[in-house]
């Protein structure tokens, strides 16, 4: 009986062993391949503004890589370097229905020559103007990515050529790359809140004082939200506004210098998306509240937009101010200060009527103008269409101490001495207005903000550095973000009644819609073409054939050795 049992057991084991092995293999091993290279990619903007869609619609990717030299681009991921990028190439890729476009940017933008940077900035607006279903990504270049690009370029350019033998050799040696993104398809972000902050300094003496409003939008914009640092536009505006808050709160803390004007400071969000923050703030203050500073007696509204560079200063108006108005006083004081204290500064007024037929408003002051509040925008840019306002090239430049002051950074950036000078000009002008200095006969040369009250350049520098340390695109700054919290904290140090103001898009007819999946991880896998596997199978089959023959004829070797050893034995 035992023998039968042991036989049965033996048979069972005989069959279960391979089965269990297979089962083990199948269960234990999920497929987790290691990529040749993994890197972050930043997607192009995707948003709807007032019903109009902009940007790239798609986010998922799983295609082979090619460069522009290849003939067939359809359903492939086209890789381009910034230095070789041009709009025609981009259009060509889109026309051939490429699967995706990846634009490789250098790690350090300051190494790029001026003309390429300029060209790219102009292209940014064109890229966004055409809505496309092709996902467009930006990646920062590193060694491995560069080597992937070079290899892809070589294999792409050799595709058209050659004889069958070359093709065969090519398939064996070359590497193709498969680009795969992690993450899902992009979808609209529901219930996104754009935050704006306000704070005030109340004037001295009684009710019904005139109010001066200072506004700057703190968000930035570029072709890729995660890469928009917005140093000059509008990090400079925010830095100036915060520095003015500090200076005037100091002045207002002494009874002798407490002026008879209310100062209202407003940091608006969603500025680059047609000034959504400002729009809702105005609606709330003018339509939904009984009393607000904005309703009673507004002297003027001064918007600060891109003031970090250049020796030009423009005051943009929608209606030239008439004599005797506080607005006119401001204009005159600006001219006085510029002429007497900063002769290198070229100041001028630019008049542009509000055009309601345009898709978006030009400057922030137009929002106030529509609600019949007198407003200006101060900027060193002459036109609101300047590409410097919407560019990812707008970055905190590498400090001039590194390469010597002669090296100009190619793109828009913040020049600290000029930022500081502009801050001083605005501060002096506002002081002259609120203390009525010209009427009192004070000369244009008198500088108020000196010594202890001077504009602190280090303060400005640290503000700009902090602002440009992270991207500030409106889609990335939600109400809990550290940027908003830090700004609120800063305002709380100097101003009273600091309040948050949220804007959410209307459910049924949203003014703005943001989409997610703006930053993804892309994996580049080394792949071989299908024909390679066939070739390999053929080689292996022939190898096995040779091996089979060798083993069959192993006996020959054996008898050969016998014959070799045999005479030796005989010689004993």
């Amino acid at each position: 009986m035992f023998e039968e049992a042991s036989e049965v057991l033996e048979n069972m084991l005989k069959w279960s062993l391979p089965l269990s092995l297979v089962l083990f293999l199948v269960l234990v091993c999920p497929l987790r391949a290691e990529a040749a290279h993994e890197f972050s990619v930043y997607r192009m903007q995707q948003y709807d503004l007032q019903g109009q869609t902009y940007g790239s619609r798609n986010a998922i990717l799983n295609t082979e890589a090619r460069t522009m030299e290849a003939e067939v681009l359809s359903r492939r991921c086209v890789m381009m370097r910034l230095a070789d990028f041009s709009y025609e190439k981009y259009q060509k890729a889109l026309q051939q229905s490429a699967g995706a476009v990846v634009i490789i940017l250098p790690q350090n933008m300051s190494t790029m020559p001026q003309d390429i940077v300029q060209q790219f900035m102009e292209l940014e607006t064109e890229l966004l103007a055409t809505e496309t279903i092709v996902p467009v990504y930006f990646a920062l270049e590193d060694e491995e990515l560069l080597s992937i690009y070079t290899q892809t370029q070589i294999s792409s350019s050799s595709q058209g050529s050659s004889s069958a033998a070359e093709v065969l050799l090519h398939t064996a040696t070359a590497n193709g790359f498969q680009m795969v993104t992690s993450g899902a398809q992009s979808k609209a972000v529901s219930d996104w809140a754009i935050t704006s902050l306000e704070g005030r300094l109340t004037g001295a003496g009684g009710e019904d004082l005139p109010t001066i409003v200072l506004v700057a939008h703190y968000d930035s914009f570029g072709v890729a939200p995660w890469l928009s640092y917005g140093a000059d536009s509008n990090g400079s505006g925010v830095a100036i506004l915060l520095e003015l808050a500090r200076l005037f709160s100091r002045l207002y803390s002494y009874k002798r210098t407490h002026a008879g004007y209310n100062l209202l400071f407003f940091l608006s969000g969603g500025g680059k998306f047609n000034y959504q923050g400002t729009k809702r703030w105005l609606e709330d203050n003018l339509d939904h509240t009984d009393s607000s500073l904005l309703q009673d007696n507004v002297a003027f509204v001064l918007c600060l937009d891109t003031l970090g560079n250049s020796d030009n200063l423009h005051l943009h108006v929608s209606k030239p101010p008439k004599e005797g108005n506080p607005q006119h006083v401001l204009l005159k004081e600006l001219e006085t200060v510029a002429a007497h204290q900063h002769p290198d500064l070229k100041f001028s007024m630019v008049h542009k009527k509000i055009n309601l037929a345009d898709d978006t408003l030009a400057w922030e002051h137009e929002r106030f103008g529509i609600r019949r509040l007198p407003a200006f925008t101060l900027s060193h840019l002459e036109s609101h269409r300047s590409p410097a306002r919407h560019s990812i090239m707008d970055m905190r430049s590498v400090s001039s101490s590194l390469e010597g002051a002669g090296e100009a950074t190619a793109g828009p950036h913040v020049d600290l001495p000029k930022l500081s000078r502009n801050t001083k000009v605005i501060a002096e002008t506002l002081a002259r207005v609120i203390y009525n200095l010209t009427e009192k006969g004070v000369s244009g040369d008198l500088q108020i903000f000196t010594e202890q009250m001077q504009v602190q350049e280090d303060q400005l520098e640290s503000l700009v550095d902090w602002l440009t340390a992270q991207p500030r695109a409106a889609q990335l700054v939600d109400k809990d973000s550290s940027i908003v919290n830090t700004l609120e904290y800063y305002l709380n140090r100097y101003l009273k009644d600091v309040k948050r103001h949220l804007v959410r898009a209307d459910k049924r007819d949203p003014e703005f819609v943001f989409y997610d999946q703006l930053k993804q991880t892309m994996n580049a896998y080394r792949v071989k073409p299908a024909i390679f596997d066939l070739l390999l199978a053929f080689c292996i089959a022939s190898y096995l054939g040779v091996l089979y023959l060798a083993i069959q004829n192993f006996g020959l070797l054996y008898s050969f050795l016998r014959r070799v050893t045999a005479p030796r034995v005989k010689q004993h």
């Binding site: 033996e10 005989k14 062993l17 092995l21 293999l25 234990v28 091993c29 497929l31 987790r32 391949a33 290691e34 990529a35 040749a36 590497n175 498969q178 795969v180 896998y525 080394r526 792949v527 071989k528 299908a530 596997d533 390999l536 199978a537 292996i540 190898y543 096995l544 091996l547 089979y548 083993i551 069959q552 192993f554 070797l557 054996y558 050795l561 016998r562 070799v564 050893t565 045999a566 030796r568 034995v569």
Partner: protein, 216 residues
């Protein structure tokens, strides 16, 4: 096509074993179950080796110690061969086939399954499969040398060469790593050197084997 690639690698690794099994006449002796037993012994020996921990530092002396532990392999082979009755060649082949197949399954199947099936292509899987072929030859040679070492009728003049070959077999891994480290060989070159080394060892052991068997 990646499953295809996995199939390629697996066939490259496994078919020589199959061919050797068929052509050496083992199938006529119903040696399958005995080969499995040899494989089980391999597993047992590996477990014993694993339970001997060494220091964490990866330096020359540690590697040498680790290689010395491979002497347990020899003991295992000897154990398998002593339990099988039959001619010398039969014993050697059974032990070597079972041992090498077990090693193939344990140490190569899983990396191939996980790696060769993926999207990413790497030459190392083909190299791994070649390596398993070389291992087969290596284990046959090793089994032959062990068998010769334990023969009571081994002539005195053979003792020394057999011992040297035995040592080479055990420390082959160590020697290979040394070569790669010193000469900074690429992966294909290392494979070639390994093949040449194994070929040399197996030729010598074959020579000695033939002499021994046919000198009587």
């Amino acid at each position: 096509m990646t499953l295809f690639h996995f199939g390629n690698c697996l066939s490259l690794a496994y078919f020589p074993y199959f061919i050797a099994y068929k052509c050496s006449g083992l199938s006529e002796y119903n040696a399958f179950w005995r080969c499995v037993q040899a494989g089980a012994t391999y597993l047992f020996v590996q477990l014993c080796k694993v339970s001997e921990p060494f220091g964490p530092h990866k330096d020359v002396s540690n590697e040498f110690m680790k290689a010395t532990v491979d002497l347990a392999d020899l003991l295992g082979l000897h154990l398998v061969m002593s339990r099988n009755a039959g001619k010398g060649e039969y014993k050697i082949m059974v032990a070597a086939m079972g041992w090498a197949t077990a090693e193939l399954i344990m140490s190569r199947c899983i990396p191939l399954w996980v790696g060769a099936r993926g999207i990413e292509f790497d030459w190392k899987y083909i190299q791994m499969s070649f390596d398993s072929n070389i291992s087969l030859v290596h284990y046959i040679a090793m089994a032959a040398v062990v068998w010769m070492f334990t023969r009571y009728d081994l002539p005195k003049s053979f003792r020394l060469p057999v011992t040297i070959l035995l040592g080479l077999c055990v420390y082959k891994g160590f020697l290979m790593e040394l070569f790669v480290h010193v000469f900074l060989l690429g992966s294909w070159m290392a494979l070639l050197v390994k093949a040449v080394l194994t070929g040399a060892i197996s030729l010598c052991s074959l020579f000695l084997f033939v002499t021994l068997v046919h000198s009587n």
